[in-house]
């Protein structure tokens, strides 16, 4: 079923109050009324803590919080005990990379295309002499070179890789990577920050051991993210941030830790964020992730067609729209990326990000200059009319070069 983006826009208050053409959803997506109301409902109706106190407000908070966990887990094809709430994808990635067991296997395999949130924890582990980094090769069109999968070997503790990159919107060949990792006895951590919001991701079918994603990139609240993991994979992790509610018992002689997910949820949690994230999962599920994916492929095609006609335009990654979500990074000849983005905002209030998108090695691997590129990232609320405005505006800007 095709999405009626024009009708959907009525669900997003910011699109009613602002006339901006919002093409920056890969940075953060807009919030529908359902999410805003759900977040507010915690503050208005509950405002208590879960899992600690025994009064009725605390019990209700616990019920709503755990119900949210259940709904979010279901959205990604997981079970509630498999879902740990985190601050965002960055924290979820740090949790796994910093807590994994490197006693017998040292190597962490990844790709240069990753977000800094995934690369930096690996680099930190290497700097501390805890782990060793291994990089899969990347082809000029931005795809992972499958011939380099042999890098994943018996010394590999963890393979940490994107589902969909934030620089090209293209997917990694996860099926092959997961198989290669499991054949070698390594764990697989998938960065789903750009994958979960834009496509149907089923944790069970994915086969990975961990999946990290954020609420705010899928129209949910900021400050809430998730780490989904298999029970046996969580058991292989050391503790990360510890504190209240992560333990069964504590004495000065020792600690008995709780099992996941509680073992990794120290302190008071972001209850309103979790409730808001559950609301957006329901919202997206009602629209249908397959429908959103189809809409995005359609938008990607129109976007790429528009950019391809710009004089001197360079599109990073494979220009085949069927291989991407509605995200395109590009440059215009003779115009710096920041300037192009600022001019698009000034001329037609088009909101786009420019720079290296917290993926500097990735942009270098794609052949972008050190200033980076302009990124247009669309979502379910973007329309053909907005792509037309984008095309007209970028035509004018491209002629400046």
């Amino acid at each position: 079923m095709a999405i009626d983006a024009t009708r959907l826009r009525a669900d997003f208050p910011v699109l009613q109050s602002s006339k901006a053409v919002y093409f920056d959803s890969a940075c953060t997506a807009l919030k529908p009324r359902a999410v805003i109301d759900a977040e507010a409902s915690y503050c208005l109706e509950l405002s208590a803590c879960a899992g600690r106190s025994h009064h009725s407000l605390a019990k209700k908070t616990e019920e709503r919080f755990e119900a949210a966990r259940e709904r979010i887990a279901r959205f990604v094809g997981a079970k509630a005990p498999e879902l740990v709430f985190t601050k965002n994808t960055t924290e979820a990635l740090n949790l796994v990379i910093r807590s994994a067991d490197y006693s017998s296997r040292k190597k962490v395999v990844s790709t240069p295309l990753e977000h800094h949130s995934l690369l930096l924890p690996i680099m930190e582990q290497e700097r501390r002499g805890i782990a060793k980094m291994g990089m899969l090769a990347v082809l000029p069109d931005g795809t992972v070179d499958e011939s380099s999968l042999s890098l994943i070997d018996k010394n590999t503790a963890l393979v940490a890789i994107h589902h969909t990159t934030n620089t090209t919107g293209m997917r990694a060949p996860l099926e092959k990577i997961v198989k290669a990792a499991h054949d070698a006895g390594a764990l697989v951590l998938v960065d789903g920050a750009q994958g979960v919001p834009h496509s149907r991701v089923d944790f069970g079918r994915l086969g990975a051991d961990f999946l990290a994603f954020s609420g705010h990139k899928m129209c949910g609240p900021t400050g809430i993210g998730c780490l989904v993991g298999k029970r046996e994979a969580f058991e292989k992790l050391d503790t990360f941030i510890v504190g209240g509610e992560t333990v069964e018992t504590v004495s000065l002689q020792g600690v008995k830790w709780k099992n996941a997910p509680k073992r990794f949820e120290a302190g008071i949690q972001n209850y309103s964020g979790a409730i808001g994230l559950a609301a957006v999962c329901d919202y997206l599920a009602k629209i249908g992730m397959e429908n959103i994916e189809r809409h995005e492929h359609d938008m990607a095609k129109k976007l790429i067609d528009a950019i391809a006609t710009l004089p001197g335009a360079i599109i990073y990654g494979n220009p085949d729209p069927s291989k991407r979500c509605a995200l395109v990074s590009f440059n215009l000849k003779g115009i710096a990326p920041h300037q192009a983005a600022l001019m698009a905002d000034s001329l037609s209030r088009i909101a786009m990000r420019s720079g290296v998108f917290c993926a500097q090695p990735g942009m270098e691997a794609l052949g972008a200059p050190k200033e980076g590129a302009v990124r247009a990232s669309l979502y379910l609320y973007n329309t053909d009319e907005e792509v037309r405005i984008f095309a007209e505006t970028m035509q004018k800007i491209a002629k400046m070069g």
Binding site: I335, H338, S346
Partner: protein
């Protein structure tokens, strides 16, 4: 390069509005980095460039394209011009304070002291108008003024001071030049002529300047109110009939022919004085002619 200009501009604007202070801080950060040979990463240059080119693009896409291609050269030129202007302005101010003229000892045209003897300002050929002082004096001081002009009002104290000091040595002539930009300027000029008919011009003129705001806002009502306070019995007949319309038109035509662009403008024996502080320059000229 533009961050140097931006710093000066935003620092100045920051004095008047807090919203410019973050911009001034960013410009300062950029200037410090450039001064220490580091790349400026505040993005301010790019924002200025994007805003400038976007603005020009709406008027002239070709011009915007040209500016985009040569932006660095334009930035450098603009920055050099800006700082050269600042230097010369500061030098002029220093000279003005120390020597009384922006050019120092050399003298000549100085923008701070107004226009003197500008070629486009031609002395009037007639002495028609409201007269005071000594008609046989060797020095003639002509003023082109507007009763509802705040600058003419500001100069009035100086005019009266000169008349009281040099009344015997100077022949003063006032020529009405009602400027359309000043509300009720024409009405005030006609009313002053009517007061002159009854020999009460100077009282009426003092009241016009004293109640300038009232005259500008309430026009005829205020003019009649002043006339009543001075017991001008023939005022209504004179003013209502527009008795002096022709005389006012002649005065206005004369002003236009002289190239007057603003009020007040003074002529001392044919030498023009206009702009800021013109009355003081005119007084200096009178003193010079009197050998004081």
């Amino acid at each position: 390069m533009l961050c140097f200009v931006a710093l000066a501009v935003f620092l100045f604007l920051s004095v008047f509005s807090a919203k410019y202070r973050p911009l001034a801080r960013r410009a300062l950060d950029c200037v410090v980095k450039k001064a220490t040979l580091r790349p400026c990463d505040t993005g301010l240059d790019e924002e200025i460039k994007a805003a400038s080119i976007s603005g020009i693009m709406k008027i002239s896409p070709g011009g915007a394209s040209f500016l985009n291609r040569h932006f660095e050269a334009f930035s450098l030129l603009f920055t050099l011009l800006f700082f050269a202007s600042l230097f010369f302005a500061a030098q002029g101010m220093y000279n003005f304070v120390v020597y009384g003229n922006c050019n120092g000892f050399e003298g000549g045209f100085c923008i701070y002291s107004g226009l003197q003897n500008a070629a486009f300002l031609k002395a009037p050929t007639s002495l028609q108008g409201i007269s005071a002082g000594n008609p046989n004096a060797n020095i003639t001081l002509i003023e082109f003024g507007c009763y509802t002009c705040p600058y003419t009002k500001a100069a009035e104290t100086g005019v009266q001071g000169m008349l009281s000091k040099y009344g015997n040595s100077v022949h003063y002539v006032y020529k009405a030049f009602p400027l359309p930009a000043h509300p009720n300027s024409r009405e005030a000029a006609l009313a002053a002529f009517c007061a002159n008919d009854e020999g009460k011009y100077w009282e009426y003129r003092a009241a016009l300047f004293g109640r300038q705001e009232d005259v500008m806002q309430n026009g005829t009502v205020a003019l009649y109110s002043i006339a009543r306070s001075l017991n001008l019995t023939g005022f209504d007949a004179c003013y209502a009939s527009g008795k002096h319309s022709e005389q006012l038109q002649e005065s206005t035509d004369e002003c236009t022919a002289s190239g007057i662009y603003g009020t007040p403008t003074f002529f001392v024996n044919g030498k023009a004085f206009a702009g800021p502080g013109a009355i003081f320059d005119a007084e200096k000229e009178v003193k010079r002619l009197l050998g004081e």
